[in-house]
Symmetry: C2
Subunit: 378 residues, 2 copies
């Protein structure tokens, strides 16, 4: 797939930027104290484990718009990196740095998320706070749990500041300093909303109250859609010197793409294969997660749903229970509810994609991204 | 005191900026979800409780250098606020916003610090994570402690992003956009070191190992001195358009001032009156805090020190124990050790103050600040 090939090549650029920045910082921060080099190294390892979709979308949007009619660049691009492949606009170093800074923000948010969700493993490696917890255990600290949480909080904070330094530094060349300033303002505004969405997610998880469809959609919008799609796309557009109209249409496209992505996530959480999705299907039900799907099931399935969820909780991965919940989803029309939400989002996304002022090959990449968010199985 | 009068009037400016920004944000963030307005209000209340020394120093340095020979401002200052008093350079709105943004960073760091230190009260009010914990209790959440910690982590994160938005917005007027970019880069770099110093502080507290004098001094430098004095002073200097030399001499001055401030803090922790210092004297010993003073006491007092600390731990606020530790400090020369560290710092601070290219009245303010850090009793 052309899209995956593009994202893979962006990943290579982002990795290089991350290494370059964090390896240089490791030496500098070693001067502060013994945690400096160590943290740079842990953050680098952790960040390199990511899929880098978000950073990849920054570069994708940049490439689509730099030099195009929608991306009216008044500046000559400097520091360009020669690239093969079908992309006419080579990616300058500073854009790769912006994308890498976004990945570093993402890693830092995950460091805090893992404390909140008490996740000790992520992508087959111990999470950062759990690494510190293990360090505390090895060093005979009295309360290794609180020690790990404390260092994890500090590490996430330091990660945010490193990311903002990386972004600030990307503006070092005055020729694009004003673009970097605009990106900085955009990130700061949007990331506050991500923090608030995370609070809502914590509250949904902790409470037995069923939220409304509108509340869940709003959570999807801020926690997933704007953060994972809109913000990276708008960032790339600003980096390319696009007009505000193009940037805001990409933002809207990102919202639709992101909500569809999250809805698919909920669906494959029930219908996917464990080997593909990395967790036993049905675990959302087991954990009492409030998704659009579990909401529809609870509303339409009534007592029958409650009974099945009770059994899922006791018997993780039980095939019979899983098939009865799948059966319920079809019988009650819960899947139809999702389809009803999905249709207008898909249509609006298609409209935006077809009317953006970009090259045909780039339009095809966006179509592919939409199809992926609608049809992926993992 | 002229200094206190100056800091009080800066406080008024900072309060106005904080109110202006966070009250506007409350309306905007109410659109995200129910946590938006609520968080803006909690952060505002929490920030207004602060002493605002740091923000005050930003404005102080700006006033000292704006329009002076050392602050060669190529830009006409806009949006000025009429001010009474003895200061020739009125403070523009955007500088007050920069100072307020720094206070918001400080509040957000404290939100996380309070989780780490498990402090449920600060300045006679519940800390933010504890407010959320109480909310969780009222709403019958199963684990209110973890609920409070989780929301506190998110709230601190959102606070950082709000502060960066406020700083970015302060650069809205292009005439000083490049100064704001320089401040952004400076903050990001320095705040990473603050995060690392906080990790070291956690590790010192959790371990029974006695750190070296050099290690403690390095902690003071990054956790207190650079953060509380150097960074605000350098920020004001950059805002005033100072040359790099002046900004870096203020940074150095800040380091000396800050270490002296922290050393005094340790001293009044043992010699102060509870009503003045807000905690029972001797509580540093009780909590096993690693200060330059406890370090000297442990080294020079040997077994006698260990015995007294053991008794302090059992009998908080016991007058006899307190007087024997004070006696030990004098007999063993532990106070002399502090004097030996203090002298060159004080001399170097005096030198910098006397040679800065500023108005006599401003020089007198800095002398007053130095005297305060040397002689304060609370």
């Amino acid at each position: 797939m052309e899209l995956m090939r593009a994202l893979d090549s962006h990943r290579t650029l982002i990795e290089r930027s991350l290494r370059h920045f964090l390896e240089a910082k490791a030496g500098e921060l070693a001067e502060v104290n013994r945690w400096g080099r160590d943290l740079s190294e842990r953050l680098l390892r952790f960040s390199l484990h990511g899929k880098m979709i978000r950073g990849g979308l920054v570069i994708l949007a940049y490439e689509m718009l730099a030099g195009s009619r929608a991306g009216r660049s008044p500046y000559p691009e400097t520091g360009e990196r020669a690239r093969g492949g079908s992309f006419p606009a080579p990616t300058p170093f500073w854009v790769a740095d912006v994308a890498a800074a976004y990945e570093l923000i993402h890693s830092s948010l995950l460091v805090h998320d893992d404390i909140i969700d008490r996740d000790r493993m992520r992508r087959w490696a111990p999470t950062l706070f759990h690494q510190y917890e293990e360090l505390g255990e090895r060093e005979g600290i009295a309360e290794p749990g609180h020690f790990g949480t404390s260092l994890g909080i500090c590490a996430g904070d330091a990660g945010f500041f490193l990311a903002f330094e990386m972004l600030s530094g990307a503006g070092g060349d005055v020729s694009h300093g004003d673009r970097v300033s605009r990106i900085m303002l955009l990130w700061a505004k949007e990331l506050t909303a991500v923090g608030l969405a995370q609070m809502e997610d914590v509250a949904f998880g902790a409470s037995s109250r069923m939220p409304s469809e509108e509340e869940v959609l709003r959570l999807y919008r801020h926690k997933t859609a704007r953060y994972t799609f809109s913000l990276p796309l708008a960032t790339g557009a600003i980096a390319a010197g696009s007009d505000l109209g193009t940037a805001s249409r990409l933002e809207e496209l990102g919202e639709h793409l992101g909500i569809l992505f999250q809805m698919k996530d909920d669906e494959i959480g029930l219908y996917g294969e464990e080997a593909e999705i990395g967790k036993p299907p049905g675990s959302d039900l087991k954990e009492g997660k409030k998704t659009l799907l579990t909401l529809a099931l609870a509303r339409l399935g009534g007592r029958e749903y409650g009974d099945i969820v009770g059994r899922v909780r006791d018997l993780p991965g039980d095939a019979a229970v899983l098939s009865s919940i799948r059966d319920l989803a079809e019988r009650t029309g819960a899947l139809g509810v999702l389809e009803r939400i999905r249709n207008p989002l898909r249509k609006r996304a298609e409209e935006i994609i077809e009317t953006l002022d970009i090259e045909p090959s780039h339009r095809e990449l966006l179509r592919e991204l939409l199809r992926y968010n609608l049809d992926r199985t993992r």
